[in-house]
């Protein structure tokens, strides 16, 4: 654990009636970062989040929240965490303002500041003017989600855990949630899980991919991309004569993996593997050649979806091999 870590999970295991849901997970989350937790259904995402929030306990291992062990001092640890559970259950019989004031009281906000804090989060989440006095049972799915997020943002919790915060929201509302998360970047550590990978890709600094209760990949998008594609895999979009393009690549000593013609732009899309030196030489050659028009060249950009599918299928193949 370093001083900059807000959450440290070590060897965390959770079993439900003997069935292993989380298998000796270890990871840490830097203070002030936004981290996305990704995994297929039943991978154990909600279990991790509930353990981090102190709602359930792990079977073995430990979780340290801002220096407090959840196993040893759950109350202290909980004071640093706000949690919005999946499907965001809310009491239907209360008004939005009442509910948030009640939650503020429970979160230990001084009585004089309860109203002020509740109003602040209602303004942040666009609830103040339209939904403040409305009964929760009359709210649409989008508004309910906003109430859940407002609740999570209430108080001075340094760590905010959101389980599927954008589920069921329309694009405008998703942008609204993204703005709230962006506004908290740097000041709060945010851990969120979602199945909308493009959404996570936009807001998160780092990712943790889990499958069948185990971590299969962790890191930033670039790091994960490098892990999946290999560090020396590049892609180029070049216009010009096919033979000239191919000759330049071969003479630089790079290995062409894929060479295809793009019909619309009259250019060639080349995926290649190259060492550092060979890549530099190639750059020199193609930039000095007047017959070639370099439109784009660089590392292969891998989407989070590709990384996710690759990591989870690799894990499944490995599991199947182990079973055999």
């Amino acid at each position: 654990m370093t001083k900059g870590d807000a959450i440290v999970v070590s060897e965390l295991t959770k079993k439900y009636c003997g069935q292993v849901a989380l298998n000796a997970l270890s990871f840490s989350i830097e203070r002030g970062s936004v981290v996305g937790l990704i995994g297929p259904n039943g991978a154990g995402k909600s279990s991790i989040l509930k353990i981090l929030a102190g709602i359930i306990t792990g079977t073995s291992g430990d979780v340290i929240i801002n220096g407090y062990s959840v196993a040893e001092n759950v109350m202290r640890a909980k004071q640093h965490v706000s949690f919005m559970p999946e499907s965001n259950p809310l009491p239907d019989h209360l008004r939005v303002g009442e509910y948030l004031r009640f939650r503020a009281g429970l979160k230990g906000i001084p009585a004089k500041k309860i109203r002020q804090s509740a109003e602040k989060v209602m303004r942040q989440c666009d609830l103040y003017y339209e939904a403040r006095y409305r009964m929760i049972k009359t709210l649409s799915k989008g508004y309910r989600q906003r109430v859940g997020i407002a609740d999570a943002m209430l108080g001075n919790s340094e760590i905010v855990i959101l389980d599927e915060p954008t589920i069921g929201l329309d694009p405008h509302q998703i942008i609204g949630v993204r703005k709230i998360i962006d506004a908290s970047k740097g000041t709060r550590t945010i851990l969120l899980s979602s199945h909308i990978l493009s959404e996570l890709e936009t807001v998160c600094d780092n990712f943790i991919i889990i499958n069948r209760g185990r971590i299969v990949a962790t890191g930033s998008l670039d790091e994960l991309s490098n892990n999946v594609q290999g560090k020396n895999i590049f892609c180029a979009r070049i216009g010009g004569d096919e033979q000239t393009v191919e000759e330049n690549f071969k003479s630089a000593g790079v290995q062409i993996l894929e060479f295809k013609r793009s019909l619309y732009n009259e250019e060639y899309v080349i995926k290649f593997e190259a060492a550092e030196e060979a890549y530099r030489l190639l750059l020199l050659k193609i930039s000095s050649n007047r017959e070639l028009l370099v439109r784009k060249i660089g590392h292969v950009e891998c989407s989070l979806e590709e990384i996710f599918l690759n990591s989870t299928s690799r894990c499944r193949d490995q599991d199947n091999a182990d079973d055999l």
Binding site: I56, Q79, P85, P89, L106
Partner: protein, 253 residues
């Protein structure tokens, strides 16, 4: 303690805004009113050894059996079903605080209903016949003793309701379990006592009288404050709440 009060306030508020509470209060008032009128008629026709107030208190089992299951069934069952339980425990509150807040809110409502039931005696006002007024107001100490007994036993009865609610997310099941346990405590004990008298089998030995709720009530109504009874109900009430806390903890994990 601050969080406990916040939880208690929330639970009381939940009870007050729920239409079910007002339906329960109406059922309670109707049953109390029915019992009072029935007893009053009986007392006017035939002279009785036991004061009217004491007899009225003896009938406490009927409203209790109806009201406690209905008031307590929603406490945990509803939270389990709606999933708001997770929300509740995501903040730094202990299981004990949650169980106690739910208990005291329900118990408070139960006792509030009983105190309100006293107003039925006010109905026997100056315009009533003197015999009726005499019957109603002749023994205020019996009434005090009876209410004290209801307050002490109510701790256990409501704790049983909370325990039943902590077991299941189905409110009907919770209600039925509480009703069955309470009925067994009131009627079952009486049934076995009668059986043992009929068959000359001494099932309870020297504890028979101590365990009989109605003979305990008579003691309190007659001004005998039996500490054994108080200790028995307080200890079983604490034990029931402890078990409920463990059940809630297990349910969450």
């Amino acid at each position: 303690m601050k969080k406990f009060y916040a939880l208690l306030k929330y639970e009381i508020y939940k009870l007050l805004v729920s239409p079910a509470t007002y339906i329960v209060a109406s059922i309670f008032t109707l049953s109390i009113g029915g019992i009072f009128i029935f007893l009053l008629h009986d007392y006017i026709k035939f002279a009785q050894d036991v004061p009217l107030v004491q007899m009225f208190c003896r009938c406490f089992w009927l409203p209790t059996c109806m009201v406690v299951p209905l008031l307590s069934m929603r406490t945990f069952s509803e939270e389990y079903k709606c999933g708001t339980f997770q929300n509740l425990f995501s903040i730094p509150v202990t299981y004990t605080e949650v169980v106690l807040a739910k208990f005291f809110a329900t118990y408070g409502m139960f006792m509030f209903l009983w105190l309100c039931s006293l107003s039925i005696f006010l109905a026997v006002g100056p315009g009533s016949e003197s015999i009726v007024r005499e019957l109603a107001f002749s023994s205020p100490f019996n009434m005090g003793g009876g209410l004290l007994f209801i307050a002490i036993t109510g701790l256990l009865f409501v704790a049983i309701g909370i325990f039943a609610s902590s077991l299941t997310e189905n409110q009907i099941v919770s209600c039925m379990v509480t009703f069955f346990i309470l009925l067994t405590m009131f009627v079952g004990e009486q049934f076995f006592a009668n059986r043992s008298q009929m068959t000359n089998l001494n099932l309870y030995g020297t504890y028979q009288e101590s365990l009989n709720i109605f003979s305990q009530l008579d003691k309190f109504c007659n001004g005998v404050f039996d500490t054994r009874i108080v200790v028995f109900y307080l200890s079983t009430y604490i034990l029931t709440l402890c078990i409920s806390t463990v059940v809630v903890q297990k349910k969450l994990n």
